[in-house]
Structure formats: structure tokens, C-alpha cells
Subunit: 322 residues, 6 copies
């Protein structure tokens, strides 16, 4: 059934039942402090992407536990003065891709940093960053969703979210960038990461989360009919005795919890026929979001959401916001 | 089975059994002459696409029977002198899209014209050009493949190929373009159209046809397991008495026939697991292609073919060729 | 889930939220007046269908904008005096078929006219009537549901419904038919067309609408999980900015609106597991139907509904009604 | 792949490797003699089908082991003198249906007997005849294909084929029928039964077998990708030690064996994309058929084969043959 | 949607609307009395299963109408004194299997009788017991669910449930078994049979029903999306006039009715994502169960339910209960 | 098509084209030497599995790089003297399971060690052993097939095969086991591991490989239509430039290479409709196997192969061989 989730008027009032877990603040404070114990060491190396209007650098910086994380930095080839910046996170399974693959924010006049997602990048857009962590080999279902899920400390997204916070710092470290005008953005997993960063970094200027993933896990596991949420379901099918344990871990990474700590203005988008990131899970985060906010609703779209049509909205919104 | 078609060594020698139909030359000469009986009337109207590194114009020109055809022209915002150009045709079901959607050749330093495909543009990338022709409402199976298929004169692709030839003329008509250095390009249907143009326009400088569609129809109808080739199969399931008639029509539009008339250097690509445009149909056109040629073989790819990986190859090849 | 729609007791009270659009009456008055500005020119040419108990004629009459529309007229080979008649409309994708294909009402003693649906007839039962209209080539998703959907004037079903009204006139024009005893009938799209005719023709004697299509579009787009309703969803997926415009067009053709104007006695049928024409959309039309009415509910059937079992009900009901 | 079976030129020469089993003649002689040990007791009871041009009788006669088998006899309502007749057998899962459902041969001027298939008739067209036999409850996979498959004596189709022979006798026993002009016909399973009758009854006048089932079992189990042949595959998946035993049973019922004994003129049809009754299995029977023969080849059709298009061919062929 | 059925808190209060049919008690009293009119004749023949720690006997006893039913009896190879016993019934489509296939209760120290299900055993685990009954060949949809469904007297599960009661008697008849400590158990169909036996045999010591089938048929036909419940839906799709008749038959075999008569302590299990035996149908039986009871809820499991994880629960529960 | 691979007579002669890579011997010598640089430290801790006829111990030993690997050791509860042993490896995605889950070889009188597969055990049978290795987080497609695939040194199966060799040593280290009579066994991935061990351990007494995985990778990637082989295809779809590199890695782990070094008697099995481990890949290993060998061919089975039917064959064969 196309509209399988709650009707729109109920979505607008829907609230997740996930509570912020005890020790949430301390957990993330300690995590980020640990990462910042390593120098950022952001290095920018120009490459020839084949494009002429955009200048691209290969980026490496230190993320979680100081491990190297890769990114691309795209800048307009012709530019003057420091630029406002956009840090973009990738959808599930993809990496930063090839140097020319995704330069839209640079083409629109911004400094555009595309972060590689550790371990990912063999599903659609390629990636090169390893998930260098002892827990990476813990028993898990295929995919990244249950990697280290037994505990918040070992969970995969602890490392990813930390990398993402450090990526903002890496962009700000570039001398072509105005560090006071930085947005984070992403679709699906990228949107979920952007929401996490919105709750973990105080001084962002804007957040754009399209059809965000990683929100309201209990609801998501109940209504999403496909991967990647179903990876957790498959894990729990086998590990029947770990439901509470897994739910406790996930609460530390839930976009509907992170959003309560956010302050920057945010633009969300949602597809009402999205079976991958169901609309109720998106509204769970949106309704909880503590900053100024707006949401674009695409009633007949699935997980593609607003796509390029919404890109136009984002061009306008970001120009007005940043 | 992933590798469902012939093994690669047989593909390299495979030849289509489609003969050039009698009157083929006259058919196309008359068709193009008729179209050229109308002024081209190419009009370029600047638009704000949201991008800053690329300048875009809305284009309208007269195509088949003088009907208006739309396109985008993208140019690097900072440029000097006339540029070499690329005319790009869209994959099946898509149109020219929004103004910022597809600007890669402009970003790479070329004048980049993206033609709308008449009637299409409601399947993935949007379009706005009508298939303004009396035959558009003839009984046909859903889709564009059997529209007017009863006769070469009324067949849908007669109109599309003519538009495509005129699109080359429209690009050449722009004063920022070097008319002696124009390439045509496209993937899937766009590749099929590019091949048709390679056979219908004498003085092209380069042809890039990725996983081209519309090649070696009899083979395609036998081995392709999905749309759009299956649209013809569904039509013939009902119209059991029109097999020969339909095959005669299709021979006038077959990329493996068109390729025999081509002269420009060409770069093909093929995915050996491509069930949409099976590798034997691609090699049917490649092996018949009369100009200088090369083909990139992606052994474990389906219809996505080389995608962005192959884009890098095209950057290199076109820079060396044009 | 087999029973995916509302439970039966709620279905019996369900009401569509589609309002009759402003100017509806004028729109249809003008449309039919325009068509009637052309002579009907109904011509009946006997053919040999291979059957001996039924005599069949090839029919052509003028439909929308005077364009020719084809049909079959079947009469019992042995008959006396003028017969009551049944005009039957085809399901989506089918045409009138071959001369012997569908003669059941003639075999039951009626004059039976089977109308070809313009443009259709390449999906299951063959057809030969073109959708001869300038708008036929407007950008649309494959299929007929979005052809000309940008405006009520250009919408495909404006032409089809007009043809259908003229088909009643064509049957009445035959001298073997009693023009005061004419029913309209059809299943799925045919049922939707019959409902439209029930609202557009005042003096019908009976209406039989099985699992009717084209009813309560907003609900249908929300709950139907397959084509043809999904064609509109696919269109709106791309043309995200046209939702209101499309809904306005569709309201002019909605069976739940048409039914409010009907007067003839009607027999509906519905399958409670019908994912193509969901039961709530059928009840939306049934509950709104202004004439005497009954509905046969098939609790464990999908879109096949009552099929031949219901045909027996229709034999009885029509004999008692006409 | 649409054309998954042998190419047409190889199909025309293809021969089944199934040999006639020892004792085949004796097996069938004894089987039919046993059945004929019971009186036929064909009783014809007029019913009101709702049709006026065709007069229908409910038929009951004694089939295998004297058990009652039901059928419909349809005659043109207006007729003179004894008519040639057609005995029609149903496709898999269907029964004789309702009284008005299938009267096409009567409408075409023949006496038309539609036999119920014992046990079947709950899948698509309804049926009422029980498979009254002690072996009916033997362990078997769901469906009819493996019922009693352990031995030719207990196999389900021994009973069905015997019923089918007796059905010819029942039609001949009606005084409105010319017993010297009787054809047998059917599609899919009905075609397989018709082929069996062609080998078991000496004095038939014509045989029409469309996309026949039950032919060249070893080939069918290797290439058919769907039910009902797959029922046997599923049975053998569990009963891994009965492959030879099952193949021996099936050889007694194989259309490619039966066809070697046929004498009446025959018209076959085949769809080259038929995954249910693959073309090689149809040609196995056709190429073995010992009587005069022709075959209509539908290159782009699946199991629907020629359908109503081929019905026109059968009208012509039967009129010329009978 | 994974959680397609009622939420857990509503499941805990859900009640089936199926009433015990009139004459239910008499129907079953007469049925069992008829079966007990035959001697049980339980015969135990040792076989070599290949195992060394478990000793297995081939069992045959007289079931419904005195027909032979097969089973395996597994005993620990090293044992002292009479053992408590478990009679286990198989899931749909399976039989008793090979001698070594399922010996878990014997390995755990119990006398373990695995009953063959008449007619079944060609779908996954093999079987050898025929459904020797005249009604076995009645018209029915493929599968066992609609065999003889026209009447409670002829319904397939009348015979199966009677066999199952007699199987308890057969186990008790073995001199290595303590007849006062006998449990019944099974998953899916086996669970449904165990529930039936819980209502038909007074002096059981324990009942273990995992994801039981055959419960609350009207609900099941509305929400189950797959076989075997869908077999009944398919039957009713064709036999549209037998809905009430079929529902009346099924009420005599409904686990939610049987459970009201149970007295032995019971352990249920349920998977909240089970689309084969939906959770509401399991809770319909559980909530109605008249004896002491507990239920293990597996929130992220489908029809596999608790599987080996739940086996550990059963080891503990049965040791504490028996 | 059920029989999608080569016909059986060609399978019997089929040879893989994979050559033993240069340095293969040294690679494995060094790998095993490195692992044996750590003490085996096999520890056996009795647990209560719930079973009474089998005594089970939790096992931990040091595998690749000395990391802990878990297993179960099952022994008959009543036994005398040292027993012959079977080391069993699990199918893809499964772990050692719960203590009672898989004890068949102990029930048959053998010492039965079930090794956990590092990282796996969240797909069907649970597991607890981590893939403790720095390379575990390298960019890879979901699943285990491409983990560390960039190089033989980092490839996942290097670690698994080493664990498997050490598991044989762990079983031999138990004082209830006769170290001179040890077999290895497994199905699918377990069969592939068993084949690897057959090539890496000189003094095995028997090898049982059912429908083995990890054989003849180039062929497998060409013909297998499902996971896990498709994981590699998906990886290569993205990493188009690593085909040769990946093939080089895989050659070090290919069962068709390993088999050339085997010496112990072996029993294989194969399902001719197996789309997961296609029959040609199984025969590639079987035909290359250097020891005494036999293969059971199941013509109508898929990846389930001979299952419990073949278990009986293995009981017989192992008793005769060991």
C-alpha cells in the first residue's frame, strides 16, 4: 500500500517514544574528547578530477581514535575570499566516490567537503576509508547496522558520528573557508549523520537532512520493510535475547534524540511513500528538532524524496540561511 | 544467471543479422530534408539554475515537422573563445531535467547541450517537450517503443532521431561553440540516439555511446528480459500478425544498421551482465561501426555499465579526440 | 495482507472527499455539445466472425471531435423485433478484440455493442482505434492515465468518456435495437466508463459496473498497490509540483462524482481483496450513486471480482431491470 | 531470457528421448477395457444457462472404474440434423465451469462437450467431479501431478485419460451428434489430454492441441520454470530415491509417446516464450505425431499462445477438416 | 510492513469471534468413538537409523476409520525404567522424515513419538502414510487445507486430528513409557494439531504449541499473506457461494475453539512478524486456552518463531512440568 | 530454468581454469606457521545443553594470529575408549549455534566438534567468535566475501581456513578422541572450508564436502544467481578496476585449487539445480580432487542437496572409511 504509514495530519504530531538514555551527554562528551585528543592533521592535496570549473583536493584527517578518514574538498575554480561551506555525508553503502562525482555545492558557490564513510563505499559510490577499530570484526549481521551493536562503546556509528564532527573541523581548518558559515547536509544515512552532528556541534549555521535514516529505531524496525533497518531485524531474529540490549545501544545514536539538542536552523524533507526511512521516523526527528525548522513533504515519493526538485529548494534555503 | 549472453570472445565476433532495408537512404534523406524545410529557430534564454560555475540557457529549436524541441545549454561561467561542444541525449523515460541537474560536460569545459526527448520525461528526469505529431495517439502498448510502429513513417523514433540531428545544428548555431568540434553522447536510449546521429550526420568529431539501446532488435527481443525492449514483445504478444511488419519498421532505426554509416571516432561501453541492453546487441553495433572505435568492457556490471568510472575514461578520450 | 482496506462495515459507510469541481456541469455540457456538433455517422458492416449463432457487424461512429471510433455489434443470429441493448466498455489496456471474442450479451439475447477504447488494445485484447487528438503526444508517463493530465480539457478520459456517450447513441441508431431499453456495462476501466456514462446520459435503463476503476482518485492513489492507478503516482513522483493540478483534473473524471448525477438502476460488484481497484474506491462510487442500486460483495476475491459467477447475477438482474 | 529454449530451427528437428515403455499397449488396453466394463450411462439434463442462442445440458457419464464424471453439452439453440462435435478438455486446475462459461464451439455450430477434470476445478474455472479412487489420498505433493505417481496403475492421469476417452463416447451417444465427425481439443493440460485421446481412440476426425502439457517429461522437468511441471520437481526434491520410478510412471502418460500412435489430422500451436509448457516439449509431441499435422508458431507469446487469434485459425481448420 | 498485525498490548486482549458450533461435542465424541471401534494395533519394529545414542522403532497404529498410520518412536539407547513421553506432530507438508531426522526429545531423555501426517510428506520432510479415505479425491484446491472442506464429516483434519489422538494412545501403549506423563507438541500445523489434541484428550500432562496454525480461521484468512491459509482463500475465490459453508466446517477444527476445552498446562510461542500464522491468530488460541499457560513472544521473528532458542525454553519448561 | 548449468555428462569432465597462483605453497606454509607460533590452548568446559544422551563442552582454542575461536565438542554420554572424530564447519552466515543444536555426529557415535566461524553467526545459527583482525574493517561490501579481498594476506578466508586447521588440532588434543581417525565435514561454506583443510592438513582420514562453496570463483561469479557469490559481483560492480586483483586473491582460496593437494578419501554431494553453489563449480573441485573420491548427484535438488537423505549416505560412508 503506497501510503503505509500514518496519515500526514498524524505525522505532524507524532512523537518518538525513545527517551534519551542515562549518561548520553557523558558518553558523547567522552567520545569527542577522546577523538580530539589526537591532532586533526587535516591535509589537502590537489587532484585533477577532469573538471575545469571546480578545483578538488583529496583530504585526509584524523577521526575516531585518530584513525585517518578521507574526503574530497571541492571549491569553485574561480573564487574570491573565504567561502561558506557545506559538509556532506553519504547515503548508506556509498563512499565519497570519484573526484568528479558529487560537486554540486561547489558548483553553487560553496566550499564542499564530501566525507567518506568508514568501511562503506562498495555498494554504490566507492569509498577508501577503513573502519579501523578492534570492534569492526565483532559478530554482526552483514552490513554496518549491527557492527558492534552489543554496546554503545563498540557501536559502528559512534565512530562514524565522531568522524563526522571532525569533518566539520577539517573544513573549518581550510583557509578558503569561512568557519562561521558552515552547514551540514546529507540524504538518508547522510541525513541521519547530519542530525547527529546537529546535536553534537554547537555552532553550526545550517542543517539539511533529507529523508534521514537512523531515527526512532523502535518505530523504524516495526514499519520499515527493507534494508538497512531490516539488518537490525535480521540480527534480532537470531539474537532473540538481545532486544533490550540492542535498543539501549541504538538510543545513543537515535536522530530523534539528537534532534532535541540541536540549535541551528534546519530544512528537512520526507517522502510519504518511503519504505526505507518511513515518514513517521522522519517526523519523529523533525518534531523533536529544537532549532528553527521547516520540512518539505513529498506526498507521492518514496526514498528518493524530493531529489533534484528539492535541490532547488535547498539552493534557495541555504542562500537565505547561511 | 549473471552472464546470460554470449561469452566475451564470441561477443567480439558477433554480427547482427539485420540488413539495411531497401530505401533506407531515401527514407532518411527525405525525413531530414522535410525537417530542414523548417527554420531551425534556435533560441537561447539564460536562466538561473542555482549554480554559479556554470551558466545555463533554456533552448528551444524546431525539430521533426518543425515542432518545438526543448534543451538546456550549459557553458562554463568563466570561459574564453568558442568551446568544443557535446550534445547529450537522455536515457529512456527521462527528459532534460531541471536546469542544474546534468552539467558535467560544462563543468569539464565544454559547451553542453542536453536535449529533451519528445513525450518522455515523466519516468525519472522530467521533460517538457510534447511529441506533437498526429501519429502520437495511434494504438500502441504503453511506453514509447511501439508508438507508430506500424510503419517507418509513423514510428516514434523517426521523430526523435530527427530532433537529435537538429539538436546538433542548434548547438552549432550558438556563437560560443566551435561548430567543427562537436561530439554526441548518451547512455542507453541516449547511446542509441547518438549512434543514429553518427550515421545521419557526416561531420561529427566524436561519438560516445554507453550501453546503447535500440540496436539489433531481433536479438534484443530474444534475450533482453526487461523493459523497454519488452514493450515490443508485449505489443507482438497481442498483435501476433504484425511480426514482419514491426521488424521492417525497426530495421530503419537499428543502431547496428546506423553504425555502418558512421565515420567519427567512437567510444562505446558495455556491461556484460546488462539485461536491459544485452551485450550482444551492443557488440552488434560496435562490430558494425565503420569509424575508428574502442569499447570499454565492464565484466561485472549490468545496465549501469561503467558509470562514473567510465566518465573518467570519457574525459580523457574526448580531450584526446576533439 | 489480503484484507488491506477498510473492513466491510466501514466500507458501507465510506464517503469520498472529492468534491464536484466548479464548472463541472459546464465542462461536460460543452464537451458533449462539441462532439455532437459532428454527425454520428454510425456505419454497421457485417463480418464473418466464425460464429453461427451470433451475427456481428463492424461498427464505426464519430466520437470526440468527430474522430472515428470502432466497435463490434453482436446480435443473435435468430431474432425477432427490436432487442434491448447493452453497450460494453473494455478493461484497461484492451480493445474490442477480434470479432468473435466477446459476445456474451448477444448470446443472452441482447444487442451487444463492444466499444474500442481509443489508443488502447495492445495490452491484452486488441484494438484498432487511434486516440486522434493533438494532446495525445503531451509529456506523460507510459500508459494512458496521465495523457494530457495537466488540464481537464486535454485529459485522455475526456475523449474516452465522450466516445462512450456516443457509443450509446450509435447502438440506439441501429434499427434492430429498442432505444428505450439500453444498458451500459463494464468491468474495471469499463466499469468506470459505465459510471461516467451513467452521470452523463439521462435516459439509460440500467448500469452494471464491476470492480470499477477511475473512482475516488485521492484514496486510490493512497491505497492501490499496482497499475494503472500507480501510473499517476509515478507521474507525480517526477512532477512533484503538479499534485494539486493533477487532482483538479482528475476530479472532473471521478466515478464518485459522476455517480452523484446518475439516475438509472445500477448493479455494482466489488472484491474485498482487490488491490487494483480497492474496495473503498468502489464503495466511494457506490455510496454516492444517486439511482436505485445494489452491490455484490465478493469477500475473498481480488480484481477478478465475481467474474462468471457474477455474470449469472447480471443475467438475472438485467432481465428483471430492462 | 524470453527465448530460453532451443531456437526454432532446432525445435523443428527436436526429438524426445522418452521411449515407449514395455507393456504400454497392454497397460492402456487393460485400463480402457476395465472402464468399458461399466455401462457408459450418459445422461443429459437440460439446464438454463442464461444464454438464449445456445442450449445446454448437464451431462453425467461413467468414467474410470465406473465413477461418475460431469460435463456440459452445448448445442446451438437453432439447429437442424446431427452436428459434428468437439470434446474439449480443460486446462490445469480448472473444471467445466458454470453452464454459460465456455460455449464457443456451440456458437460456431458444433455440438460442444466440456468435460470436468476429476478433482480439479478449484483453481480458476470451477468443477464438481470427484477423483473417486482409493489412490487419491496417497502421499503426494500438493497439486495433481504427483497423485499416485509411484506406479502407472495408481497415477492420476490414468483416471483422467480414461475419463477423456469415455467423454468422446458420451458425446457420440447423444442423438444430436454425428458420431463420425468428432474432434478433441484443449489447451495446456487440455491439449495434453487431447493428445492422449488421439493415441487411445482410433477413429477421431480431428485433434487440436494448443500449447500442450504432459509432453516429454524429462525435458520439461529440466527447462520449465513454473508449475505444474515443477510439482514433480518438488516431489523429487523430497523423494530423491524415486527418480527412476517416477520417470517410468510418467512415460506411460507422455504426449510424445501417445502422439506416435495417433492417426487423426492435428493442429498444434506453440508459444516460443512459453515457460510453462516449453516449446521443446511441444515440438517433442508434434514431431512425433503420426497423423497429418500442422503447427502454428507464436514467436513472442508465452503460455497464452495464440489465444483468440488462434481460435480463428481453428474455426477455419476445423471447418475444412471435419 | 514487519509488524503488520495488532500491537502486542492489543494482542494480549484479542479474542476470536468464532463460536463453538452446535453439535461440536457430539461430532468429536462420535468421531473418536468410531475410530476407537478399531483396535489400536500399535506395532513397534526396531530399525537402524544410523544413530547410536538413540534407539528407533518404526511404528504403525490404526488411526481414523482404522487406517494404518506410521510414526517413529525414539528412545534413549541407555535408559532405565519407563520414561515420560512426547508426541510430536509435523508442520504442514512434512512427514515423519527419515529415522534419524528428528530425535531431539529422545536425546533429551524422553520417549519421543513422531507421527506421520496422512497424505503429507512430499513438501519438505518425507512421509509414507496415505490419506486413505473416500473423500480424499473430492474437488479441492491443491494442498490439504480444502480437502473435503464442504462438510465437517469429510474434512481432512477430522482424520488428522483423530490420528493424532490415537498417536497419544500408541505412545502410551509402549512398555517403555510412563502413560501418566505424556506431552503433545508441535510447531505450526504441529502446534495446531497439538492444540486440537489438548481439547480432545482429557489427561495430557503438557502441551507445547509453537506458532500454531489452524486457529481463528476468519481472522487468518483476512491477514495471513501466504500459504497454507491462502489455500482456503484461493478455494473461496473460485467457490464464491460456499463462504458460509466453509466457515461452518472450519469452526469444528479451530484451535481457538479447541483451546477452550483444554486442561493441561501449556507453553505457547509466537513470532510478531509471522505472516504465515499471524500473531492475532495465535493469541486467539492462547487467550482462549482454558488450562495453565504461558507464551513466549519473539518480537522480531517470523514463522520461525523462537526455533532452537525456544527449544531451550521447552527443555526447561517440560522438565519442570512433566 | 531449473537445469541452468552444464548437463551432467559435461559436468563430469568439467575443469576449472583457475591455476594455482605463484607462491601458493609458501603463502599457506607461512600462514599456518604464524598461527602455530601461538599455543593452541584448547580448553574444554562442560555445559548443560539440555540433552541427556550427548555430553557437550564449550571449546576455546587459538586460531589465526592466536585469537580465540569457539566451538562445541559433543560426545556420546555413554562411551568407551577414544572415539573417531568429525570436525564440522558451518554454512555461510551461521555460527556454532546453541549447545544442543547440531549433535548428529555425536549421536552417531563420534566425537563431534562444531567450529564457530569468526564474525559470522548472525544470519541463521548464532555465533560468538569475533573476526579479531585489523583488516576486518577494511572497505568491503556487506557480508564476508569481500572482507580484506584486496590481498591474500588480508583476505577473510585466510583467517577462517587457519582457524579450521587449528580446529582439527583442537579435536585431536582431546583425550577422548583417537587423533588418527579424524574427518572434516561441512555443507556449502562448511564444505568449502573442509576442502581447504583437505589441502592444508596432510593426515586427515576422511573429507565430506556437501554442495561446497568457494570453488572455481570465475565460473561461480558467471553463473551463480544469488548470494554469497553475488557479494563479490556487487563489489566488482563498484570497484571496476580491481577485477584482476580480486581474482588473484581468490585463487589462493579456491576449492578447485585446494583439492589438487588433497589426499584423504572424500565424499562429495551436488544438487544439479543449485543456483547458490552451481554444479559446475562443485565438479570443478571434485574433478580436481587428488584423493580417492565419490560424489552423490541429486538431479532435482537445489542448494539443499541431499540433506537428510545424504546424511544416511554419510553415516554409511564414514563408518566404512574411518
Amino acid at each position: 500500500m503506497p501510503h503505509f504509514d500514518l496519515p500526514l495530519d498524524q505525522l505532524r504530531g507524532y512523537r518518538s517514544q525513545v527517551a534519551e538514555p542515562d549518561g548520553f551527554q557523558e558518553f558523547w562528551d567522552a567520545t569527542l574528547a577522546q577523538a580530539r585528543g589526537f591532532d586533526l592533521d587535516a591535509v589537502f592535496t590537489p587532484v585533477d578530477s577532469g573538471l575545469r570549473t571546480v578545483a578538488t583536493s583529496d583530504v585526509v584527517f584524523r577521526g575516531f581514535a585518530g584513525a585517518p578518514v578521507r574526503a574530497w574538498l571541492h571549491l569553485p575554480a574561480h573564487r574570491e575570499g573565504p567561502l561558506p561551506g557545506v559538509v556532506e555525508y553519504a547515503g548508506y553503502g556509498g563512499g565519497r566516490g570519484l573526484a568528479h562525482e558529487n560537486t554540486v555545492w561547489a558548483a553553487a558557490g560553496y566550499a564542499h567537503l564530501v566525507m567518506d564513510t568508514r568501511g562503506q563505499g562498495s555498494g554504490w559510490r566507492g569509498g577508501v576509508t577503513a573502519d579501523a577499530a578492534p570492534e569492526a570484526g565483532d559478530p554482526a549481521a552483514p552490513g554496518f547496522m549491527t557492527r558492534g551493536i552489543a554496546d554503545p562503546d563498540s557501536y559502528y556509528y559512534r565512530r562514524v558520528f565522531t568522524d563526522a564532527v571532525r569533518a566539520v573541523e577539517a573544513l573549518r581548518a581550510h583557509d578558503g573557508v569561512d568557519p562561521d558559515r558552515v552547514a551540514v547536509a546529507g540524504g538518508s544515512q547522510g541525513g541521519g549523520i547530519a542530525l547527529a552532528v546537529s546535536g553534537l556541534v554547537d555552532d553550526l549555521s545550517a542543517v539539511m537532512a533529507d529523508v534521514p535514516f537512523l531515527c526512532d529505531f523502535p518505530r523504524a524496525l516495526s514499519v520499515a520493510d527493507s534494508d538497512p533497518y531490516q539488518e537490525v531485524v535480521r540480527y534480532l531474529k537470531v539474537h532473540r535475547d538481545r532486544v533490550d540490549q540492542v535498543m539501549r545501544t541504538l538510543a545513543h545514536f537515535d536522530g530523534s534524540v539528537m534532534a532535541r539538542r540541536a540549535a541551528a536552523p534546519a530544512l528537512f524533507s520526507v517522502g510519504l511513500m518511503d519504505g526505507v526511512c518511513p515518514p513517521s521516523t522522519v517526523f519523529a526527528a523533525y518534531n523533536a528538532y529544537a532549532g528553527a525548522k521547516d520540512i518539505a513533504v513529498y506526498p507521492y515519493n518514496g526514498h528518493e524524496g524530493g531529489a533534484e526538485h528539492h535541490q532547488v529548494e535547498k539552493f534557495r534555503w541555504l542562500a537565505a540561511t547561511l
